[in-house]
Structure formats: C-alpha cells, structure tokens
C-alpha cells in the first residue's frame, strides 16, 4: 500500500477496505426496454412546426375575435378576415403582384450590384495592404450611415427613377457585406491558410478555394444583414419617395393605401412584405446554409 496518510495526520479519515465482488451473470432479461420510442402524440407535439402553427392560429383567432367581438372601427384595425380577403383580391384580381414584382426587380438589381462591388473591393483588400486599410476605413464610415439618408442626394444625382433606388440599395448592401467578409477573411485560421499555401494555392485560387469557404459563415451573415438592410431601405424609400418614381412598388402600395385610409389594404401590403421576407430568410438563406455551413458543421 503506497498511499498512506503521512504521520501526524492521524485525524484524516482512513480508507475502508472492503472485500471485492463480481457479478457473474447479469440478468438482461428483466429489463423490458433499454430504449423505446416515444408515443406518437409525444413525437408530434415535439415537432416545432406543429406547435408554431397552433400558436399562429391562436394569434389569428385572437385578432379576429377582438375586432369582431369589440366592434373595432375597421379603419383603425380591420379584422383578419377582411385583411386577408383584401390580400387575396389584390393579389389575384388587381395589380398588387406587379407592384411586388417591381420592388423585387429593383431589389435584385441593387443587391447583386452591391455584391459584385463588395467582391471587387474585397479582392483589392486581400491583394494589397492599402486596399485593406481603405476597406477598414470606408466600412467604418459608411456602414453606420443609413442608406436612406443618401436618397435625397441620389435623387439629385440620378433623378427620380429606379437609378436612385439602385444607388441606395447598393450602399445598403455593399458595406455590410464588405465588412463581414473582410473580418471573416482576417479570422481564417492560420492552419487553413498554411494548408492552402502548402498545396501551392496562390492569388485568386487561394481566395476562392481557401478563404471564401473558410469565411463562409461570416460572408453569409454579411449577406443576410445586407439583405435585411436592403429590404428595409427599399420599403422605406418607396414609402417615402415612391410617389415620385411613378410606377410604384410594394412600399408605395402601403403608403398610398394609408393615405386613402384604406386600412385593410395597408394590412394586405404588410402581409405581402412579411411573406416575401419569410420566403427570402427562411427558404432562400436557410437552404444556402443547409447546403453549406450547416453541412460542413461550421455554423456559429
């Protein structure tokens, strides 16, 4: 016995030495289920979508009950059914769908132009230290500047049309994407960088094959923020200045309806905005994430 309490520490409790024993035969048979499936009801209730749908229905029911039960003035708060019917009518029997398309078109042009510019800036930043410093400077300055604040200037420079909208959209996308991509690149682990160099990757190949995939979580985060800013800027710009750009988009539809105190159309417009937002965030971006960073186990 090598571990003995040293002399003078007699007060310490002593090890109690007991006889050993072994179980020769473990009765496996008595155990009914080592692992069994949960009941069907338990499993259905465990599906997040089911519970969320129930809550959504409850919210809608509460809204409907409140407006109908308390006889709320429809001009202030129309009931859910009226708003929903209005949405249905305007989508299928009126020109709401064209207004949506008009907004989406402008959004896509602005968003992709912003991405291309961001990519060019980032390439420059990875190639030269001056470029890197410039990006750091420019993003620090322009990222906190709400794109919509540039709209008055844009209208002065590009007139009242689509060009102004695209300009502010580019501004809203460019800096958010550049900022997070740049910091994503800087945070690529030295090990991965060395691996890339080890296998002889240089220049654009090094960027595309090592930096971009390694920094994809932050690039995607930047693209999501950029999308959120762009979407907000576009709706804001149309709400505010849509009047002047003629054809009018979704934001303009909301603004026009509210000017006419056509509240159920305002709600129909808001529904459309929400639906489109959900599609982009939960379908488009979610799928990109599932196929890339989630599959690679890289999501934060």
């Amino acid at each position: 016995m090598s571990i003995k309490p040293p002399a003078g520490k007699g007060l310490l409790p002593k090890l109690v030495i007991r006889p050993e024993y072994e179980v020769s035969d473990i009765a496996q048979a008595q155990i009914s289920d080592v692992a069994h499936k949960l009941s069907l009801a338990e499993r259905i209730w465990n599906i997040n979508g089911v519970r969320k749908a129930v809550i959504l229905l409850a919210l809608v029911a509460a809204w409907q009950a409140y407006t109908v039960g308390f006889d709320v003035e429809p001009l202030m708060l129309p009931s859910f059914s009226i708003s929903f019917m209005r949405l249905y009518n305007d989508l299928f029997y009126s020109d709401l769908i064209y207004k949506v398309w008009f907004s989406v078109k402008v959004l896509l042009i602005g968003y992709s132009a912003g991405l291309v510019l961001a990519a060019l800036l980032i390439l420059w930043a990875t190639a030269t230290r001056f470029g890197s410093d410039f990006i750091a400077m420019a993003t620090a300055m322009f990222n906190p500047l709400p794109a919509i604040a540039l709209l008055p200037l844009a209208m002065l420079w590009f007139g009242l049309g689509t060009a102004s909208l695209v300009f502010v959209l580019i501004h809203s996308v460019l800096w958010a994407v550049a900022l997070s991509t740049h910091s994503g690149f800087e945070n690529v682990s030295p090990t991965l960088r060395m691996i890339g160099r080890n296998y002889g990757l240089r220049g654009i190949f090094y960027v595309l094959k090592i930096l971009v995939p390694a920094a994809l979580p932050s690039i995607l985060a930047g693209m999501k923020i950029g999308w959120a800013f762009a979407w907000r800027t576009l709706i804001g710009a149309e709400l505010v200045f849509g009047a002047s750009s003629g054809s009018g988009g979704l934001g303009w539809y909301i603004f026009e309806s509210s000017q006419n105190i056509d509240t159920d159309a305002v709600f129909a417009g808001l529904f459309t905005v929400i639906l489109f937002g959900i599609v982009v965030e939960n379908v488009v971006f979610r799928n990109i994430e599932l196929r890339t960073v989630n599959r690679w186990g890289m999501q934060q």
Binding site: K52, A149, P152, W231, R232, T233, I235, I274
Partner: protein, 299 residues
C-alpha cells in the same frame, strides 16, 4: 525487386552545454517607424486625409457644380454654420431623445419576452413564432399604421422604433440563452443558483456575445428607421425642444428641398459621426470590457 532503403543506425549523442550567449537578441523591439506604420489608426487616418485631399482637389480643379458635389471646404463650413447658428446640435438631440426612448422601451419588452421564452416551452414557441413573422417586416412599413393609430408625433416614431428593436434583440438573446453550454448550466445549478439569480449570474453573461450582437443589430435597425421616418415626417413630428424643430433626418431633407447641397453633406457627416460614435465608441467599449476580455467574441 525494388531496392528498399534500410534504417541507417548512427551513434547517439547528448548536448552537455548549450551556448546561450552567441545568438544575439532573442527578441528585439521594432523601431519607432515600424511601430507607427503598424498602427491601424495611423493608417486609417492617413487614408481619410488622402480621400479629403482628392475630393477637395477634384472639386476645385474640375468645374463640377456645387449642386452635384460641393467642395469639402464648403461642406465643412456648412457643418460649422449649422452647428453654430442653425441648431443642428439641438436637432441631433431631438433625434437621439426619440431614439433612446424607443430603444430603451424596446429593450424592456424584449427582456420580458425573452425571459418568458426561457422559462417555459410555451413562451419559447410564442417568441419564435413572433420573431419568425415580424423580424423580416421592416419597421418603416409600420409607420403609416403608427401614424393612423398614434397621430403625427413622437409616439408614432417610437412605436416603429420599438418594432425595429424588439425582434432582433429578443431573437439573438433567446438564441444566446439556448446555446449556453450544458456544462455551464450544470455548473451554475451545482453551486445552487436558481430562478432569476441563475438568469442574471449565469445565463446572461454566458450568452453575452449573442445578446450584444442583438443590441448592435437592434441599434442599427432603429437608427435606420429613425432617419427614414424623420426624412419624411420629421418636421411635423419631433418639435420637442426649444426652438429647433425636427431631427437630423429632417435637416437633411429640408436642405435638399432648398438645394443647400453643402448642408445636405453636413447633415450626412453628422449622421456618420453619430453612427461611428455609437458603433465604434459605445459598443466597442462594451465589447472591450466584456466579451473580448473574456475571450468570448463570436468571431
């Protein structure tokens, strides 16, 4: 048969004494110049100066119209004038009062929602349903409704600000709470933390990186919403303080209407300055004292 090389057995050796002296400097300080060039702030500042010089030179030398692009000097002068005699600071103050009110109320509501969501599964489901629906809805789209419900006034803007703050803050804080590691939760319970003490002493610090991210996104949305709202309705909405009516957004819009482009630029500079101050001074200071010091920053 291929010739496979054999192991070449050599004699062993051990170094008895390692000569330390003749290596020279093991580590040496960089020269002053090397260190100055290495400082980020110095490099950023020189780029800023360069941009200003190019801007001024371009507007001086080419015949670009003052209405398209004013000189930097004219802009600086307009900024000075606006601060000195046109109550620009009071307008900034108006904007910030509304912003801070909306942000603070938004935080309180977000905290309540997140607490409910953390305590019960029902609260959790309600919060995730609400955020999934309402987070993609730009706050500014609610402004027409807010004007209808609350009339022209600061209340309507505060309502839209609430919407822009609550969802990103609640969403991120909730995600943060959910992803606190199982080990840290067990440590907290092990030492007897329960209820609100457990939330305050364990969950909040452990989820702080995500909470902070939510606060920053909430701020960014609120700031953008406020400027957008003021751009249109500012003149009529926030004439709260003595004399100066409207906020920063209104300053930009009204000067644009009067084709005071140098003033528009001065207004934009002010927006940038406020934004840079909040993001790079306020939030950076919080980050330095918390997540960065604790080695917890997400990226």
């Amino acid at each position: 048969m291929k010739n496979i090389p054999n192991v070449l057995v050599r004699s062993e050796f051990e170094a008895t004494e390692i000569a330390k002296a003749d290596i020279g400097d093991v580590a040496r300080k960089l020269t002053l110049f090397e260190r100055i060039i290495g400082m980020h702030s110095v490099r950023k500042l020189s780029i800023l100066v360069l941009v200003i010089v190019v801007w001024e030179a371009y507007t001086q030398l080419s015949s670009v119209s003052e209405l398209i692009l004013p000189k930097f000097s004219a802009t600086a002068q307009a900024l000075y004038q606006a601060v000195a005699s046109e109550q620009l600071l009071a307008m900034v103050w108006n904007s910030m009062t509304v912003l801070v009110t909306g942000y603070a109320i938004g935080l309180v509501i977000a905290t309540l929602l997140t607490t409910a969501a953390t305590m019960t599964r029902f609260g959790n489901d309600v919060l995730s349903t609400l955020t999934a629906m309402l987070n993609p809805l730009p706050a500014i789209a609610l402004l027409p409704l807010a004007l209808l419900w609350f009339g022209l006034g600061a209340d309507a803007i505060i309502f839209t600000l609430l919407h822009s703050v609550i969802w990103p803050v609640a969403l991120n804080a909730h995600v943060g709470f959910m992803s606190v590691s199982e080990t840290q939760r067990m440590v907290g319970q092990n030492y007897g933390l329960k209820g609100l003490v457990y939330v305050g002493k364990l969950l909040i610090p452990a989820a702080f990186p995500q909470i902070l991210m939510g606060l920053k996104i909430g701020w960014a949305y609120a700031w953008r919403t406020l400027i957008a709202a003021e751009l249109v309705f500012g003149g009529s909405i926030s004439d709260t303080s003595e004399g100066a009516s409207g906020g920063l957004g209104w300053f930009i819009f009204s000067n644009q209407m009067e084709l005071q482009i140098a003033h528009v630029f001065a207004g934009l500079f002010t927006v940038i300055l406020v934004g840079v101050f909040v993001e790079n001074v306020v939030f950076n200071a919080i980050e330095n004292r918390t997540v960065r010091r604790w080695g917890m920053q997400a990226q």
